[in-house]
Amino acid sequence: MSKEERSEIIGQVVAADIASFAAQCLELQGAPPLGSLVKTDGPIYAVVCDACTESVEGRRPVAHLSGETDLESFLDSNPHLRHLLRTTFDAVVVGHGDGPALHHYLPPSTTPMFAPVRLCPQEEVARFSQSLDFLKLLLSAAANSDEVAAACLRLASAAHPDRRAFLVTAGKELARLLANDPHRLTAILRRMRP
């Protein structure tokens, strides 16, 4: 079994376009952390930019008012709820692999439906974030892109031996991309300070 396959499947793609996809988590409340690097078959790499737990019927659930505060034990005592609720997350596509090569730009086609989504292990995060070209894709993604970029770099820095050096290099890349928007730049920098 290859290293990639060893990493645990956390969800399945349920909607996809070229630049992003949505996946449903296998576990309720099982969404990967904001900013984490995930991959699907291909491989296509993406950064988690949003997550949501909601009713599968589209209606808003009704509060149970039982006084139980631990969610897991509440679900255990009401097992049907696990089928009525689901957790999904959105991810921004930031690159793809082509054989041994990594490309930090959009893949030629959308992410396949129902493809399994895995969390990238640290070594893969380190390898992918050797190049910071993906930051441009990340910054141009929809709402909260600043928060996502900061979270992504914070998480990725843990995969590098010199955390601070990585963050400084990434910060410089951001500074180049956001040369015309210093307020946005400083806001992101504040969020990723080591």
Binding site: G171, K172, A175, A179, P182, L185, T186, L189, R190, R193
Partner: protein, 550 residues
């Protein structure tokens, strides 16, 4: 060794940044690499710029702090945020160098530097110039190059081209106490040394130094005023003669002089008085009065004017006939009386000072004329320097014309050194004095000037434009700086370099004898070792020559 041969680590080490914009006229803007701190950069340093085909040499003339966006200064995080500062350094905030490209060297190793007529392309790499680079531009000391100093922060020597230096008039400028005399002494000693080493007679030069403060003849005061240093005669006893206007002062200072110069009243012409108008406080009409008086009395005009009795009827009629007003006459006479009181003035001398000096010069001996106590008397200095130079220049002119292009017959090239040059070359008198004429006609008659001055703004701009090589110590008066840099293409850039020189032992050299402007730390002068540079080397070279010929 060219760049491609160098190990990569070395070339990256010296790299300062990349050319990002600029023009030939305005200079280049170089974006400093993010790893480089502006604090390690200094204006006046040399850089090389590797273009696609050629290599350029330039000088850093300004350092600037830039931001990519004008909002950045207002959106910066608190000063304590090291992370943000580290991120922004070299990206949104960066250092920028202003570099003026001066020279271009072709791709081949033996290509000679030529003036840059274009600029390197975008993103050309800018590096600190290496010792070899500087040596390649400023030459090594040899028969035709003499050492003047070292560039800042470098151990190599900057050499002036002897021949190019001697073929035009040159200037040493700098405000008082910045080491002009010190520099001029090095220049004169080097000229004498190089001249002695020349095999061809037409390449030799002799110096005539009007030594206002007795600094060039036998000994001078050390820079800073404590102790003494050897001057020209001690270094080159066989090829320097010291003349004096004040034998008493020379005796007191224990200077062995070769001759005493005296000036007869009959050697002074009205033209010599003209230039003294200001220092003798004469009215313009009083100066004009000298001409009819000379016409009437001939060479004895000064003595006769001093003896003239205006109450005598004949004399009064003469003055009236020549429309010389009584007040003008009195003004002139007062002036002449002041001249007559100078101790070297005699009603008549048998000795012909001009001829004596000329004989020395023609035999290849350099002449230093000490002014003794008259050095503080600007009237005496201007009178003697102008009078002697006028006669000597006239003789040179005759000889040169008589030679009719036969170089062997031409008089030996003469360099005349004058101090307080603005007294001779100010716009009011530059057209009348022989110095103005010499400066303008360049080496037409084999005479050029070495002017030493602390107020270059007082020098006529036409004269200034003819000065070939300018050696300037610190100047802080705006108008002085402007005048020294007048007509220089990179005036604005050099101005910032000039204004930031240290007040001692640093000079900016630019013009004919150097391929590009250079800031030097002047050579050490005053120790036995430094004298050895002037004395031992020619001797050793001669010995080597004898052995190699044998």
């Amino acid at each position: 060794m060219n760049d491609h041969d160098k190990p990569e680590s070395e070339t990256i080490d010296e790299r300062l940044g990349l050319v990002v914009s600029g023009s030939l006229t305005a200079g280049l803007d170089v974006r400093l690499d993010s790893g480089r701190s502006v604090e390690d950069i200094a204006v006046g340093r040399y850089v090389t710029i590797q273009g696609q085909r050629s290599r350029f040499f330039g000088i850093i003339t300004d350092v600037e702090l830039c931001t990519t966006n004008r909002d950045i200064p207002w959106s910066l995080p608190e000063a304590a945020d090291d992370f943000a500062r580290e991120v922004m350094a070299g990206t949104t905030t960066f250092g920028s160098l202003h570099v003026v490209p001066y020279l271009k060297v072709g791709p081949t190793a033996d290509a000679l530097p030529e003036p840059a007529k274009t600029v390197p392309a975008h993103f050309a790499q800018v590096r600190q110039a290496s010792q070899e680079d500087v040596e390649r531009i400023f030459g090594q000391e040899d028969e035709s190059h003499f050492v003047i100093g070292s560039p800042l922060d470098m151990e190599v020597k900057v050499c002036l081209n002897y021949q190019r230096f001697a073929e035009r008039s040159n200037g040493v400028f700098g405000k008082s106490g910045t080491g002009k005399t010190f520099l001029a002494r090095i220049v004169l000693a080097s000229l004498i040394m190089k001249s002695n080493a020349q095999r061809e007679a037409e390449k030799r030069v002799v110096n005539l130094v009007f030594d206002m403060h007795n600094e060039y003849g036998w000994k001078g005061t050390r820079e800073g005023g404590s102790g003494e240093v050897k001057a020209l005669k001690q270094l080159f006893s066989a090829s320097v003669a010291v003349f004096t206007l004040d034998p008493e002062s020379s005796r007191r200072r224990q200077v062995a002089t070769d001759a005493v110069v005296e000036i007869g009243y009959d050697e002074v012409e009205p033209e010599d008085i003209e230039i003294l108008q200001e220092s003798l406080n004469l009215t313009p009409l009083a100066v004009q009065a000298a001409f009819p008086l000379e016409r009437r009395f001939g060479r004895q005009w000064i003595q006769k004017t001093l003896d003239l009795d205006p109450s005598d009827e004949d004399e009064r009629q003469f003055l009236q006939r020549e429309s010389i007003h009584d007040s003008s006459f009195r003004s002139l006479r007062r002036g002449l009386q002041r001249l007559a009181r100078l101790s070297f003035m005699r009603p008549h001398t048998e000795q012909n000072s001009v001829q004596t000096i000329l004989n020395y010069l023609q035999s290849g001996k350099n002449v230093v004329l000490e002014f003794g106590r008259h050095g503080d008397n600007i009237t005496a200095y201007v009178l003697v320097a102008n009078l002697l130079t006028r006669r000597i220049h006239e003789r040179y002119r005759q000889q040169k014309e008589a030679a009719m292009g036969d170089r062997a017959q031409e008089p030996i090239h003469l360099v005349i050194t004058i101090e307080e040059a603005h007294k001779f070359l100010n716009p009011q008198v530059a057209h009348q004095t022989v110095f103005g004429q010499i400066a303008r006609e360049m080496r037409k008659y084999n005479v050029t000037l070495l002017v030493i001055d602390q107020r270059p703004s007082g020098i006529d701009s036409e004269v200034m434009s003819q000065i070939g090589t300018k050696i300037s110590c610190l100047l802080d008066n705006e108008s002085d700086v402007d005048r020294v840099l007048e007509g220089v293409a990179e005036k604005r850039e050099l101005k910032s370099v000039l204004a930031r020189l240290e007040s001692r032992q640093q000079a900016l050299i630019f013009g004919h004898a150097v391929p590009m402007p250079v800031v030097v730390r002047t050579e050490e002068y005053g120790s036995e070792e430094s004298y050895g540079r002037f004395v031992e080397r020619p001797f050793r070279e001669r010995l080597e020559e004898i052995y190699s010929e044998g």
